[in-house]
Symmetry: D2
Subunit: 343 residues, 4 copies
């Protein structure tokens, strides 16, 4: 019997409606590099969903790629990007940002998040330093929403970050690899339109939310960058069959599919969370999205590993370990029940 | 009525067997980043097809990306890559190689190809120059097979290039974005095993030959690079759902599918070529692969544009223009017949 | 007896007035990084000499460094720099520009020079190409004055280059490593003020014209770059004791010293040139600056090598070779006489 | 009356013996790029002083430049450099290392130093992390000696760092911008030969210790890098008149001049330190080198600023501030006396 897998949200293929559409048009001939009708339609729908008519939308294949292309395109060579020390670009992208010539300027995270006051202290301190011309200028603020630990920014936190970006003339960029799961969380007060209004650029993750692959980069403030298309090409990030991305996002943004399938992940996560609490487990972090963190004894850890694939997050003490379970748009309630039965 | 499209070989989706397989496993849960069984199986089949048991195989998404990751991984910072001046990396990749810090050292092409004697003259001249320490060291030879103009290297030409690479301690890299179409050309004497034996690294193009997307990078000489996986990640080139690439190449390398579907493109191209010759057209270049180049009058050009999408290659004289038609694994004989009827 | 040396213009130290000044202030304490009074004074004098009150002036140590810092500072990541194929940045800087991420876009030189019409053809062709978004944007035109082969641009040639830069929104950059020798050539109609008026940025070479080392970068059009100081630091090009550069340029731009000592090199070069013509030698190139190129028989070449250090430029035919002699601000008439006596 | 300056150790020119030598040979003609006799002689003397016959020695102009060229030359593209968070490369080099594509992996400093056990924990943790292939490989350990806060490593601390470098196959690099002042400190047990034996590469600072400018990079373990000369050129770091560096280091390494003049700085620093203690001041850090840190009241700070130039280091509490005084090879006892009279 194969193990139950709760280790990530990119283990399944794509939503059936996407597959259906791809099959249907498989032998049509489309123009390359995103110059096709599906991309145009998807962009229009995304602009509408973002309530931002002027937004430029570009489709990329994956998250690290999106981070690298966006950051490189927005920053000047003397600028770096401010990130929480737990930010994906600071930890798990093999130095992709530095490889493009830019320093990641890290600030201690607060429950996975970057707080506006910490950013202001950092940037204010930078400009007050007489030697700041010998240092890397903070040119952009990078956040993930949901964060790497499943937490969410509140609307007022995002507004506060926007404010500090305005004060110090920095771009504001949101990594939305798991954006769907954030938008439908029960306790969020942040909408897609809010994000488009507050950020200069962000992306709507498809890879982890119903697509085979793909991230829709939305540049919501016009005239912020030039030749983004060429930057994509220069980074080897321009998909020849761009219409594959167009079809996927066009489907996801038809009939609210993106939001609806996101809800499934959240429902499964909440069912899991409640089940854990009911069984008396202690949560390691209080996440309202599709990543759930729980503390188990090392004996339980060992036992679970026989039946389930999950992530060891960190050691809590000699006898206890925090572990992570991840649900997705494709997780079933049956799978969650079975997982709970092992716990 | 929509126009006939003969402008590229990446306008259709994927071979039906690939779609079938993707559908079948859509809700299975797979490990990410190429750590799944499909990738392992595909790698094994590719090693066998290359007759090279020790080869490392890595799956990337597209051609420019493959060129960038391979070249960056193999070169030291003081080295550049030798290419024909018509090479894709020298012209149409938006400076992706220079963006990674390396100069493309161009040599005049000979019918789209890089000739061993020209490379030797160049590299010998480099080392004879007393000031060579002030210049970029030639660290790799890059060729495309088929070339950007549809031509093919002969086995002896490849052997000669290998020889000069050995003489001057350079890596030998083949861009095989259209490799299938070269392997099944009627007049080639070069096999996949030859390529694996002669090159240090090359890739087998999937994007243009039956896959939705994907290039299989084969490092056929062991111990040539370290941490290629990390280089992929650093370039934003590591697909989260790596098994999508595994499934595609596993299917293409089952029952000779890759070769068989390549043949269709070649048959269509030859049918087109013969038809053009029969009608008295002059070919612009003598290609034995899936790109065909023909000279038309400017009047004909204008007329054709009403009905067909193709590429204007270059102006031949005041009254004539060379144009390019491209066939693919998915082109039908009916489409070729119709095209010929317009000519 | 040691050999006569005519192989470069950077073999001697500095003009005695510079040494005198450095000795005089040796134990004074100066602020670092160019924040001293000598730098301010030198900048003011250079602005006056350039008849350009708004010019930003920065002092760098050497030519390749100046090229690298200037080009990196002015270009966006999707841009390259247009250069003659004989340009120093294209040949003899070990890929310094590519190492910073930018392609050098070469055009065939015309007697060492880049002609405006050739640049226009190239850039016009670029923008007419439908695939230009897949290519490197021409963002700057780089020229050397005098060129690598000692030739000079006329005022109308520079004006024509300025015009094409305006037409296509490119920066215009002049490498003036040997600028002094160009400004005092007998047949030039180009003044320092012309250069400041026509270029966006250029540098006045000190290393080859009387200084121990140093190049004064003049950004003559305001608001063209931001944080040039930080770019210098980032490239390891910010001299801690910046006042060493300030003192040198302050001295060179006092009492016309820069122009006066440049004249000595030119007089020596002309004496040599006339002597060669009188002896019946054929010049390889007609240079009016401090580099002189002459054709000698291979026997003569061999004989000369016993007594003189010079550069072999290129093979002319089986029996003849072009060689280069270089004079400098420090060359004496006696040394030229002696050289002529060997020829 | 001009202020007393105690703000850095690069405010004066060069030791008189260097000036004398430069004057003496000013009109001699020397080969460029370090191919002269002075460089050869200086290299030989440095090898002897380091007791390392096989060492490669290269002369660079400044510290940031040396750090950039060394780190770039030694690291592969997937590697970063481990540094204390207070390391110069991590803070005050405007992102020079990231600009070359490499991440600086920071570890909390211990009194300005990087402790072997902390490095081991970090690197061990890296390799134990299952996702380490998604992260930047630690390829080098960078330390400054003396550190940015004037502290010194003990011999056993350096040996422990060497050990962890051996365990994890990392290069060991010492930034010796102020090396002289470390070597002659009264409480050090580390010699130049120890450093050459333990490090793979380090540099002997000249800019701050008696030279106009210059850092002697010593690669004490053979076959560690290839084409360092070309790396210098590529970074714009190859001085045309390399003999200027040769003369300076040849002079500094004749008759123990480097050590002797370093001692003057240390004697002045100790005189200052003792004077401060005698007057009842509290030291902010206990430095045995040429940087001295003391705590003053804000009133005193304000008063001192009228008469002395020094550095504000950090705020200690509402009423007190830590400040830094720096002595150099050129500081006189009179200057120290005068400074003490103000305190």
């Amino acid at each position: 019997m194969s193990k139950l897998m709760f280790s990530s949200d990119y283990m399944e293929g794509a939503h059936p409606r996407i597959i259906e559409k791809l099959m249907q048009i498989n032998f049509d001939k489309n123009s390359g590099y995103g110059m096709d009708d599906y991309c145009q339609s998807a962009k229009e729908k995304i602009r509408k969903a973002c309530e931002c008519e002027d937004a430029q939308v570009h489709f990329l294949v994956g998250g690290t790629q999106a981070n690298k292309v966006v950051i490189t395109s927005f920053l000047q060579h003397y600028e770096g990007v401010v990130s929480a020390d737990s930010g994906h670009i600071a930890v798990h992208e093999a130095g992709a940002i530095e490889n493009s010539g830019h320093k990641v300027l890290t600030i201690k995270n607060n429950n996975g998040k970057l707080m506006a006051e910490d950013v202001r202290d950092f940037v204010k301190g930078f400009y007050q330093d007489e030697t700041c011309d010998h240092m890397v200028f903070p040119g952009m603020v990078y956040i993930s929403h949901p964060t790497e630990t499943g937490t969410l920014y509140t609307l007022s936190e995002l507004e506060a970050l926007r404010k500090v970006c305005d004060e110090y003339n920095m771009h504001f960029f949101m990594d939305g690899a798991r954006l769907g799961y954030g938008l439908v969380a029960s306790d969020t007060d942040v909408t897609l339109a809010d994000i488009a209004r507050l950020c200069d650029v962000f992306y709507i993750g498809g890879t982890k939310v119903g697509a085979f692959f793909g991230e829709a980069v939305v540049i919501s403030r016009p005239n912020k960058v030039k030749h983004f298309f060429t930057s994509m090409k220069q980074n080897g990030a321009l998909l020849a069959k761009g219409w594959l991305l167009g079809v996927q996002f066009d489907t996801l943004f038809t009939d609210d599919l993106y939001m609806n399938i996101s809800k499934n992940a959240i429902e499964c996560a909440y069912m899991l969370k409640q089940g854990l609490l009911d069984k008396g487990y202690t949560l390691f972090a209080d996440s309202s999205t599709n990543q759930q963190f729980v503390i188990v004894t090392n004996d339980k850890l060992k036992e679970l590993r026989e039946k389930v694939v999950f992530n060891v997050w960190e050691k809590v003490d000699e006898d206890h370990t925090a572990i992570r379970f991840v649900t997705s748009w494709a997780t079933t309630k049956e799978q969650v029940s079975q997982l709970l039965s092992y716990l």
